[in-house]
């Protein structure tokens, strides 16, 4: 198979970028999209040119490194997968493929197709955790958690932090990312004591990083490689509303989850 690739090249965050066209020849249908790019890079290298920088690591759809907008869609034409899980048999021979980086002010381009997603880490640092010290935890079965509840938490927790939701959103909003983490921890009793401060802090950090706001278009859900549903965004909103009421001092925050089960 042969392809014509239009790839975004940019040397650094403050430099001007542009599309450069490359030919990808001798592509087999069983190659992954990234292996196809590897092939292009190998050829560039033997010609003494700088290869196209793109991010990848596990190549099995879980680390969240890969991040390409392929023909206008983050992670490409298939749903529920990452770029590394996309195979060339999905494209017709001779196709023109446009490859762009994630585009968002909060994700400055470092080089070519590599963007800086540390804004997501800073949102996590603002409150995406349960503050418990190592050691001294009670037995894992002290706290009974319903199967449905555990499954819902797991649905939310499966976020791989790739940032495709931001890339797909018209407003470059990180709401689905924040929603996944907030919902995961707010669904579980262990996360309840800090739920009000957590949601406020994480959303505040999201605003600070320059992400946009949610337009409820659900594009994020459609490109999410883990198909995290937008109902978690509603959940995030409810958590935020609840936090506003709690923080204004009306009802008091619930006690330790372990208190009710003992």
């Amino acid at each position: 198979m042969k392809f014509t690739l239009k790839i975004w090249r940019q040397n650094g965050p403050h430099e001007r970028g542009q599309f450069v066209t490359y030919e990808a020849n001798e592509v087999s249908p069983g190659m992954s999209f990234l292996e196809m790019l590897d092939g292009v890079n190998q050829r560039l290298l033997t010609q003494g040119e700088e290869p196209v920088a793109f991010e990848q690591d596990c190549r099995e759809g879980i680390c969240g490194s890969c991040s390409l907008v392929i023909n206008g869609i983050p992670h490409g034409p298939d749903q529920g997968i990452t770029t590394c899980q996309l195979y060339m048999r999905r494209f017709s021979d001779g196709a023109r493929i446009t490859i762009e980086p994630w585009r968002a002010r909060a994700f400055p381009i470092l080089k070519d197709l590599v963007v800086d997603r540390s804004a997501l880490d800073r949102i996590m640092q603002a409150g995406g955790y349960i503050s418990v010290n190592t050691g001294g935890a009670v037995d894992g079965n002290v706290l009974l958690i319903g199967k449905d509840q555990a499954e819902t938490a797991m649905d939310a927790a499966s976020c791989i932090g790739c940032g495709a939701c931001v890339a797909a959103c018209k407003n470059a909003s990180a709401m689905l990312f924040v929603a996944a983490k907030v919902s995961h921890l707010a669904t579980l009793p262990q996360g309840r004591p800090e739920r009000a401060s957590r949601v406020s802090a994480m959303l505040e950090a999201m605003d600070r990083e320059g992400f946009g706001t949610c337009g409820n278009q659900s594009e994020c859900e459609a490109v999410c490689p883990k198909s995290i549903p937008v109902r978690f965004i509603a959940n995030l909103n409810r958590e935020y509303l609840r936090a506003g009421i709690v923080e204004s001092g009306l009802p008091s925050e619930s006690q330790s989850p372990y208190a009710e089960s003992s």
Binding site: F19, V69, N71, G72, I73, Q79, T98, E100, R103, A104, R105, A106, A168, K170, N171, A172, S173, M175, S200, L203, E204, M206, D207, G210, F211, G212, T213, C214, G215, N216, Q217, S218, E219, E221, A222, V223, V230, R231, I233, A234, N235, L236, N237, R238, E239, Y240, L241, A243, G244, I245, E247, S248, G249
Partner: protein, 225 residues
């Protein structure tokens, strides 16, 4: 309470205020449509209803000022957030393909502007009567202001009908995303309830638009005269 207020300073908080003011305006358009449907009961009913609304000036002006402030807050915050959103993506994609976003959700700004222009026209036209002076002061047989006559006269004019239908298109487009979107923003997500409310949202939007169109076309097609 200060903290609660500051809670609404965040982008999500502002979205909530937009949602709430929007829902308030939805309630108004429903009420407005239902009231106007009295057109089909004949001149007496509609004119009497109009007179009733004007009889208590405090109520009238409270509602007017309330509506105006809802509109101002709604639009003001929407402008603020869309400026923020524009900044959030400083460089646009060369190709950007939507996967599932509805047409309505993608045109909220445009439908909002259409709606705003239309409402302005509508106020000048039928409320203030600036556009068509002929009927503004006419009284009916019972001494009420002849709103019925004014409406019938207006919608016999095909240009006016086109403008109003365009306005309804804007309204319908805006509402079909706005109602369910507002509910999502306010955090309603219990799966079963959510489907019900989403359905209700579309139903309300459709009902308002259909009701309004019924009035416009009812006159234009000569069913009401």
């Amino acid at each position: 309470m200060v903290r609660l207020f500051s809670h609404f300073q965040s982008s999500v908080g502002k979205k909530m205020v937009i949602a709430l003011t929007g829902l308030g305006l939805v309630a108004y358009v429903v009420f407005h449509m239902l009231g106007n449907l009295q057109l089909f009961e004949g001149p007496q009913a509609l004119n009497k209803y109009a007179a009733f609304l004007r009889d208590i000036p405090i109520l009238l002006w409270t509602v007017r000022i309330g509506l105006l402030s809802l509109v101002v807050v709604h639009i003001g915050l929407a402008i603020q957030l869309s400026m923020r959103n524009r900044r959030a993506r400083s460089v646009e994609y060369t190709i950007h393909r939507y996967r599932q976003a509805s047409i309505a959700s993608r045109t909220m700004t445009i439908s909002g502007i259409v709606l705003l222009v239309f409402v302005g026209f509508h106020l000048l036209h039928l409320t203030a009567g600036v556009i068509d002076l002929g009927f503004s002061e006419r009284l009916d047989s019972e001494g009420h202001r002849d709103v019925y006559g004014k409406v019938v006269h207006a919608f016999q004019n095909p240009f006016i009908v086109i403008i109003y239908l365009a306005g309804q298109l804007g309204l319908g487009l805006h509402l079909s995303h706005a109602i369910s979107s507002s509910l999502q923003t306010m955090g309603l997500e219990r799966a079963a309830l959510n489907r019900l409310l989403q359905g209700l949202g579309v139903a309300i939007g459709l009902l308002v638009v259909l009701g309004n169109i019924a009035i416009i076309l009812g006159v234009f097609l000569g069913i009401v005269h």
